[in-house]
Amino acid sequence: MNIHEYQAKEIFRKYGVPTPSGHVAYTPDEAVRVAQDLGGNIWVVKAQIHAGGRGLGGGVKIAKTTDEVKDWATKILGMNLVTHQTGAEGKLVQKVYIEEGADIKKEYYLGMVLDRAKEMPVMMASTEGGMEIEEVASKSPEKIVKVAIDPTIGFQGFHGREIAFGLGLENADIMPFIKFAQALYKVYMENDAEMIEINPLIKTGDGRFLALDAKMGFDNNALYRQNSIAEMRDLSEEEATEIEAGKYGLSYVKLDGDVGCMVNGAGLAMGTMDTINYVGGKPANFLDVGGGANPETVAKGFEIILKDKNVKSIFVNIFGGIVRCDRVANGILEATKITDVNVPVIVRLDGTNAKEAAAILNSAGIENIIAANDLEDGAKKAVEAAKRG
């Protein structure tokens, strides 16, 4: 789960990670009030969406008067912001963050993520603030300092020194930087974060380190014990069909092809997409119906797949193990009574009681349900059906 910049900065402040002062606003008038409360004579108006590259897309503007704050807030609120991370369709901006202007002397990058190979969190820093870390990694990897932190000992001074000296900081900056990094580690660990990015981290003219931007993602499996984080979830930032699927224990991701698929198990679901691609078609989605595959979940699966109007056929690929195929077959027939399925459905059931399942499907005599012998046969039939339109 991801959160907005303004929410991440709220968490930062709680842990003593310094950020410029600021507040979220939902209307231009509110934006002006926030600017007045903050005081000063320069403000930044920042679009709040879950995507990077907001500045280049026109979602971050500097205002020198409260009238300018109002103008920019009016323009940004309600705009459809397109960045390299939103895709061509962009994202609707529903709130802005008003922040005091900062005196930037130098920009850095500082981030934390799980190092899957080392099985511990890693802190990454670079002198190329403002640039995307992936870009720095591919163009000049020597500019990235990476330090893995063994959670059983926690963040120690030496971790901080390795990064600080690695960045070439001046001696006077070492201690303030280490304090900053130490607080950030605490934010990461105590909130079950999956990712933190501060890009840029700035050094101000008077020698302070401030998080000018903040991006955070969290481990979904830990949200049950992170209530305040879970409350920060912004459903308007997520795909409506994915949320809907999640409510029924289904895992769905929309793709841009025309062959819908419904599969049990995430690996086999990806494998099914790959097979469709291999035989010359394009998968319309990833959908894992889980172990149960009962009539209700299968019906919901059909409903969700068919919300995508590009779908011209559906490939149901179930490998029944503990769940017997004859039960799944009955479930599919039941599901077609609950949800109106108006495209050809190619069904491949393998595993326990597969023969009985095929007999059930065949004897039902439903025209648009076609049985397949195996994975490849099913994929081919589904692709052919989609091509016939």
């Binding site: 990694a137 481990d219 035989v279």
Partner: protein, 289 residues
Amino acid sequence: MSILVDKNTKVIVQGFTGKEGTFHSEQCLAYGTQIVGGVTPGKGGMEHLGKPVFNTVAEAVKKTKATVSMIFVPPAFVSDAVMEAADAGIELAVIITEGAPVKDMMFAKAYAVKKEMKTIGPNCPGIITAEECKIGIMPGMIFKKGNVGLISKSGTLTYEASNQVVCEGYGISTAVGIGGDPIIGLSYKQLLPMFENDPETKAIVMIGEIGGDLEIQAAHFIKENIKKPVVAFIAGQTAPKGKRMGHAGAIISGGAGTAAEKMTALEEAGVRVVISPADIGKAVKEVLN
């Protein structure tokens, strides 16, 4: 021969009396697995499925001499259960539970390593030595005995692969579902040499997916150390970047962890890589002939 577990392996179940624990323990017992007891705190002294229940793993190990634990406890209690098993001297913990927080697994794994306890999973179907011992939730009847070792991040793809191997007239020595979480126990790199040294195993199938770099590590390892033929499939060639595909670890982040880079690395290591999972069985037949 086989790897890690066989008909003589003594197994206890943590979370024995729960719904999942009960159902799958019954299935394992029916398969022939030597489940010698279980652990449910507060239910010590009871009997369940004809086996003794203990309050602690330490007590269960002392009384039953079990060396393996199959773990079904809910996600919030998984790290505690794993560490308890490690502390009690269990040699292998098979963690079936799905949904364990990454941070918890970080600490649990570190402690398991310190105590020299092997782990499989979490979020995995478990391990099966065909026709001898099933520790997990896979449908046993799909795994006919034979000479192919199987290592997979995915449950149903494991069944699919085993089914294809059996349809081609071969069978499975041991199949290990290593799970698709960001932090897992035994991985390709640790399991490959076990299969290499197992006289019964003649070929190895490895099934990977997008996310992380375990398959790349495996490729480097295979190039240097594995003489037996390896067939591989990597799921998620058509997966979009930055989207989690069901498994917590199945995500291409920052452009890294793609199926293409893993397939290339494996091919360079001399592995027979199939593009479609429907070709796993045929490829096994090819490499064994």
